[in-house]
């Protein structure tokens, strides 16, 4: 942040904070309702912008909040104590409603959540609209009666309370978005399977996000009832839900603070510009379409992007000329990798097995059939702890299939897999990852919405100890996130990726994307790292850097299984090489032995070694 932005935001805050001084009473009340809508929309942005769950029924939670508080104050007793109780109850019941909707809607794929939220609007609206105890279509009135507080004073309190809550929740949710759980939720938006493989419980955490979003909207509803003094069934209706959605989408989904420009356009515009009244629906619809088609980040996201680019251009202009490609420091291989920083590091490393004699991985008579095709046939290979074990063989030899059997993506038809002395043959991929396996994929699997840094950080998710709530409150400021930030920067520098750390994957060369996948494995702190053609798409210099890093990694007692076609790289860095041909294990031995083996040469190496 530059000094001018800080000054600007301080000025804006002062202006808003002092608004009771310069606003008329009506304008102040209206501003309060805008803030309350913004608060409700923050809950929706958490669901949609971060967790990727499209709710067309967000007003349900908002409406429930207004009625819970309204009924409590009308049928129960009035007074500050009851108002506070109403707020707490509204948030709680909003959360419970969200839990019910989420528990059902998340059972199936994305669009079903939306349908369930739509159905929820139908149910809740018609119950509120049709029941006698809610006052029917005419709703509740007189919620503020008998408070014994000067209404002007109460408006002032509500204004400041709403203001504080909006800023508090913007800070909290933005914090959450960029820390462990928010990051993994954003990954799960597009790559649900990948999120599972990092040990992230997608259903549970989505449900938590939905409950939190519902509770925030319930709280907003409670404030709304207090501010307006009335409740009406429309507050829980479809139109209200769509309005909240418009605020989030136009303002900028996922940015959280976008709800402020959003609410100003959706609710402020028609209030201040009377002429647009009848045009309002059309204009908002067209704006939303425009955002979806042309500016998917909305107002706030597009602005953020613009600021980021401008800051980068400025930084590049001031920096002395520099050659592209890998970090020169890293290429000279200066600091050796400190794989498991000991001492006060709050990021716990996975405990390692002490028994040095047993092999880390033992494959015994592995066979895999796909229909009638025998992809693997009686493969028995032992991988020693702390070695770099290469798997080579012609295309279609079954290397990737074997890797998938080891990591649990495929179940072998025959044979057993012993990892750390435990039979893992029947365990899921998630469970094996939990035991200390981490892998890259031949096909790229970086989340498109996350920067390279964020993608790499996901590797450490399993080691992170923050819970959903602590990552909401502490977020990026928690010790482990700060530590992770430092560790990630170090690993990225070592792999020559610092230059692209803040880029999105799609703007980065394929080879560097693969390298990012390796960096992510490194950060996972796994005992066994399985790499599927990490050097594909790298230039010779980058390949050399990769080789050096992998050797250093093995030096820190990590075991690597490497599938690679670059023979020079393999011969340079591998401790042991296993050759697969037609799904069968042909030979295992050191690089020299393999290079000179007649059968291996005949089957595979011959021509390639001549190069």
């Amino acid at each position: 942040m530059t000094r001018s932005t800080i000054l600007l935001s301080c000025g804006a805050l002062l202006l808003i904070g002092a608004s009771p001084l310069w606003m008329s009473d009506d304008l102040l009340r209206f501003t309060t309702t805008l803030l309350i809508y913004a608060l409700a929309a923050i809950g929706l942005d958490l669901m949609y912008g971060i967790a990727g769950l499209l709710s067309l029924g967000h007003a349900v939670f908002f409406g429930i909040g207004t009625y819970v508080t309204g009924l409590l104050l009308v049928k129960g007793d009035s007074g500050i104590l009851f108002a506070v109780l109403g707020g707490v109850l509204s948030a709680t019941i909003g959360g419970i409603a969200a839990f019910t909707i989420g528990a059902i809607g998340l059972l199936r794929r994305a669009q079903y959540f939306t349908i369930v939220t739509l159905a929820a609007v139908g149910i809740v609206f018609s119950v509120i609209n049709g029941s006698a105890w809610t006052g029917g279509p005419s709703g509740l009135t007189g919620i503020r009666k008998g408070f014994g507080v000067n209404p002007a004073i109460m408006d002032l309190w509500l204004f400041y309370l709403s203001l504080i809550l909006v800023f508090l929740f913007i800070l909290l949710i933005r914090n959450f978005k960029n820390a462990s759980h928010g990051r993994a939720l954003r990954l799960a938006k597009t790559l649900e399977a990948a999120a599972h493989s990092y040990g992230f419980s997608v259903y549970g955490n989505r449900l938590r996000a939905v409950v939190l979003g519902g509770a925030i909207a319930g709280l907003a509803g409670s404030l709304f009832a207090l501010s307006l003094g009335a409740a009406s069934p429309e507050f829980a209706g479809l139109t209200q839900s769509i309005d909240l959605l418009l605020m989030v989408i136009i303002g900028g989904a996922g940015s959280i603070w976008g709800v402020i420009p959003g609410v100003l356009i959706v609710r402020g515009l028609p209030e201040f510009v009377q002429a647009v009244r009848d045009w309002q629906v059309l204009i908002l619809g067209l704006l939303m379409l425009l955002v979806l088609i042309r500016f998917p980040l909305g107002i706030a996201g597009t602005l953020e992007l613009y600021w980021k680019q401008r800051a980068r251009l400025k930084a590049e202009a001031t920096k002395p000329g520099r050659h592209g490609g890998a970090d020169p420091d890293a290429m000279q291989g200066a600091p050796t990798i400190d794989h498991h920083p000991s001492g006060s590091a709050p990021l716990a490393a996975t405990p390692r097995i002490q028994d040095e004699n047993s092999p880390l991985l033992a494959l015994e008579h592995i066979g895999k059939k796909f229909g009638g095709i025998q992809a693997l046939h009686d493969v028995s290979i032992t991988v020693q702890k702390g070695s770099l074990h290469a798997l080579i063989g012609p295309n279609g030899a079954g290397k990737s299939t074997l890797l998938n059997c080891i990591t649990g993506l495929f179940r072998p038809t025959t044979g057993t897999i012993m990892f750390n002395g435990v039979d893992v043959s029947a365990l899921s991929a998630e469970a094996r990852a939990e035991m200390g396996m981490s892998r890259t994929f031949q096909l790229l699997e970086l989340a498109p919405e996350l920067t390279i840094t964020e993608n790499v950080k996901l590797g450490a998710y399993r080691r992170q100890r923050n819970r959903f709530l602590s990552s909401l409150v502490l977020g990026v400021h928690s010790r482990e996130e700060v530590e992770l930030e430092r560790e990630t920067a170090r690993v990225l520098a070592q792999y020559g990726l610092s230059e692209i750390a803040r880029d999105l994957p799609k703007t980065v060369a394929v080879g560097l994307q693969r390298l990012s996948g390796v960096a992510r494995c490194v950060l996972s702190g796994a005992d066994l790292i399985l790499l599927d053609e990490p050097a594909a798409g790298l230039n010779p210099v980058e390949t050399a850097v990769l080789g050096k890093r992998l050797r250093e990694l093995v030096g820190t007692d990590t075991t690597i299984i490497l599938i690679e076609h670059d023979m020079k790289l393999i011969m340079d860095i591998a401790d042991v090489i296993s050759v697969l041909v037609n799904g069968s294990h042909l030979r295992t031995g050191g690089p020299t032995a393999i290079r000179e083996d007649k059968e291996v040469i005949a089957a595979y190496l011959g021509s390639e070694l001549e190069d």
């Binding site: 349908i115 369930v116 597009t190 139109t239 769509i242 009848d278 379409l289 979806l292």
Partner: protein, 287 residues
């Protein structure tokens, strides 16, 4: 005529609207995976257009042709937005796109036809003259018959003609179909155009029966969607589900409570989703 028959009849009338909307939703869902929430507003545009044209004393035949033509263009436009401009978006964002289109269309309706609910003059004036049919409204009967005929015709087209089979092939396996020479894009656009025309026909048939206003679109789309979901995304299933849904609504309104009509329908949807989820779960557990 008994009260029960009357209720049944009025239920089937509303059910016919849901069925027509549902069938259009099924066409688009099967071609693209998108659940089209703009369907209800397409229906409303058809209804509003019919109302305006009939007030200008345009002959019925011309009204029908105009409405179908406008709706075909509307369907094409929706395809253009969702599948050209937003071609690379995820399904959820395309679903959001259909919501945006629904908002735009309802904004147009507000602008062109105002806030007040309105309706169309009946264009099938004669009552049936004999027997138990006497008290039935022929306008409603036309709507029900229209829905049934469209449903069956569409089913026969998709099931029995080579063009229909090509359309289904394009929907189930677009790459495979494209490889065997089927013009996938053409059939995808056809699905949108056809769905638009069906919604327009629904609007034309329903305009004299219901009061329409610009806020009703999403509600109708949702009921069509429920029919499509419960009908298992098949044409005949949706036809049956839509008609049943309307009947249940009418029965609940009269014998239960008017205000819980919607609640019952939506509870039905959730019960269905849970049951379907349970069946899938059991099926997977058995494997």
């Amino acid at each position: 005529m008994s009260l029960f028959t009357l209720i049944l009849f009025s239920g089937l009338t509303m059910g016919a609207i849901y069925a027509l909307l549902g069938v259009g939703i099924v066409l688009i869902r099967n071609a693209t995976g998108i659940l089209n929430l703009a369907a209800g507003d397409c229906f409303l545009i058809g209804a509003f257009l019919s109302i305006t044209l009939s007030r200008l004393h345009v002959p019925l035949a011309v009204i029908i042709i105009t409405v179908l033509a406008v709706q075909a263009i509307l369907g094409y436009g929706i395809d253009f937005i969702l599948e050209r401009w937003m071609a690379r978006a995820t399904l959820v964002i395309k679903l959001l796109g259909t919501v945006a289109i629904a908002v735009v269309l309802s904004g147009l309706e507000l602008l062109l036809w105002g806030r007040n609910p309105t309706t169309m003059e009946r264009y099938i004036p004669t009552n049936f003259d004999s027997g138990w049919l006497q008290s039935l409204d022929p306008q409603s009967a036309a709507l029900i018959a229209g829905a049934v005929l469209v449903g069956i015709a569409l089913f026969l087209f998709l099931d029995r003609t080579s063009a229909g089979r090509a359309m289904r092939a394009a929907a189930t396996d677009s790459t495979g179909a494209a490889a065997s020479g089927v013009n996938v894009t053409f059939y995808r656009i056809s699905a949108f155009v056809l769905a638009g025309m069906i919604a327009g026909l629904g609007g034309l048939l329903a305009a004299p029966i219901i009061l329409v206003d610009f806020t009703m679109g999403l509600g109708f789309a949702l009921l069509g969607l429920i029919a499509a979901l419960i009908g298992g995304m098949t044409i005949l299933g949706t036809l049956a589900a839509g008609l049943t849904l309307g009947t249940i609504e009418a029965l609940v309104t009269v014998y239960g409570s008017d205000v819980f009509r919607d609640a019952v329908v939506f509870a039905l949807l959730i019960a269905y989703l849970l049951a379907a989820q349970g069946i899938t779960f059991l099926r997977e557990a058995r494997k």
